[in-house]
Symmetry: C2
Subunit: 326 residues, 2 copies
């Protein structure tokens, strides 16, 4: 385990445990099957990044209401709901190293359990008694659904532009992380400057995280990833490493890359050839740099807060966004 | 058209038109495809029962804030979201006389557009600035998802009891109509007695509506229904007419009925034979009576309100629940 990961895990241990407990206690399910399916996705080793970010954001704002772990479950339930629906949409077979829920329980149950988790997150949001929080949560869900649909309509579009990619990942990933951080500030009854700073921190962190995630599909391996590498490409999803390389490639290389991309049954040899192209045309490097810019922006947003353990951890998480291997 | 239907349509005309306008104006979509799919389900001749009930409930409480049509879209978006997901879950091919959205656009788009509509309804709920309304909406969604899953797990269960059937239809249908009526009272800032009375009215109306709906599968025809008759049975869904007849039938007849039910490819001849059994063992009559009891309860709940046009229409709608043919 890398030093930074170890340091973060150590810093967030009490929050992490409080979140695990809250997730189990507040599922509020009345049917065994829902409990099982929700548990399948919820308790399979998630990082709890989103609830942790909400708790840390609350703490950096001086929150002391004692309900942060409870409220933070909003973001894990919401995240789990979208994973259930997205895996079904993408046809993904593995999730966190386990068979995806729709393969184990069927599409019907996966759809309905996703709906339930979405509703559960909203019920908990309503308990904040803060209509701005609820507005944020509803807005996240609207954006995520539209981001996923947008991505779906752009499948196999070899002409996808960087700007459109950015808009897709903003909606499908960054708004949720932005919302988690913003909610931490909102429940602390912080002023606009703190709310906006944490929202911006979350947005930039979310963009960096998704780019890092998209990179992993080309630089990691199936075992550490817990899902198949090359999956994005097999699903016809063009991400920044590929978009940039396609834009920069010679005509001959571009045609070769397009052939591999459109043939979703590519061999390992072909996939490696494509990866070489991503390096040759600096698709990997460019994406790393873009992600890095966002982590720098994220950290800058924290400058208005005085030093604290929570601030240090939020900075570490931004650095870790780029360093992670899975 | 029956006299009562004509009378209701005439009474609610201004509300109906305001709701249609609000549904178009507040979809708040940024992608053409989402707009098209949402429109496919939203603008295919729905009765707008749920938003109408919310508007009438607000009016019976003396609401004059002028935002009832806007807020009432919550309940049509929510309803449309569940139709999209349920049709997918049930594999239903027809909806309101048109091919179901998942057949036209695929499961992926149907799931995600459902998510979007769900989120949209919550965004509008958050604009009420009323956390009790939001709690109600989130609770509806939780209940509906669990009700659908409950029904799914009871498929082809020939031993399904009336009580369990009642619990399933409460969750999958009645809570939404209850919530629409309750929200009408809540946005009017009415006291507990009005809020509870309208919630109870909605609950009982919802129960009666679902029972009437389940009856239509045996007493209507595909053309007036806009979807295939006998569909419930083909999906393995046992509803009250069947549950009651199975409980009352002689052993010989019960075995015959069970054979038809478990053979989902039943012929028209077999389906008619089953319908004869439902009549012979009073499954139809019993269900009609149960539904009628609920409409009586619903109407009684309105006694605390003074006479008004809205009250008269709410009473008419309760009567119509039983009289409708589609």
């Amino acid at each position: 385990m890398s030093h930074i990961k170890y340091k973060i895990l150590n810093q967030v241990k009490p929050d992490f445990q409080a979140i695990e407990t809250a997730l189990k206690e507040n599922l509020g399910v009345h049917l065994d099957l829902v409990s099982e399916v929700a548990g399948h996705i919820l308790f399979s080793g998630g990082k709890r990044l989103r609830p942790l970010l909400m708790c840390l954001s609350a703490r950096i704002c001086g929150y002391s209401g004692g309900r942060e772990a409870f409220f933070s479950t909003i973001f894990e339930y919401l995240h789990a709901a979208t994973l259930l629906h997205d895996d079904l949409v993408d046809g993904g077979r593995l999730r966190r190293g386990k068979p995806a829920a729709h393969f184990v329980y069927g599409n019907e149950i996966a759809v309905l359990t996703g709906d339930f988790l979405l509703a559960r997150s909203l019920s908990i949001a309503s308990e904040t008694q803060n209509t701005e929080v609820i507005r944020v949560i509803a807005g996240i869900t609207e954006n995520m659904a539209q981001g996923e649909i947008h991505q779906l309509t752009q499948k196999e579009n070899l002409k996808l532009k960087e700007q459109e990619y950015m808009e897709i990942i903003r909606r499908k990933t960054a708004v949720l992380i932005e919302g988690a951080c913003k909610t931490g500030a909102l429940i602390s009854k912080s002023g606009d400057s703190a709310v906006n700073a944490l929202a911006e921190y979350g947005f930039n962190l979310g963009m960096a995280f998704q780019m890092a995630d998209d990179l992993l599909d080309y630089i990691s391996d199936t075992k550490s990833l817990g899902k198949a590498v090359g999956a994005d490409l097999r699903e016809g999803k063009l991400t920044l490493p590929v978009i940039h390389a396609l834009e920069s490639a010679s005509e001959q290389d571009r045609i070769l890359m397009e052939k591999i991309i459109l043939n979703k049954d590519f061999s390992e040899y072909e996939f490696n050839m494509l990866k070489n192209m991503l390096n040759k045309y600096k698709g990997i490097e460019y994406t790393k740099n873009k992600a890095k810019e966002h982590t720098i922006c994220a950290k800058q947003m924290l400058s208005i807060f005085k030093d604290s353990a929570a601030k240090e951890t939020l900075i570490d998480i931004a650095d870790y966004a780029l360093a992670r291997k899975s």
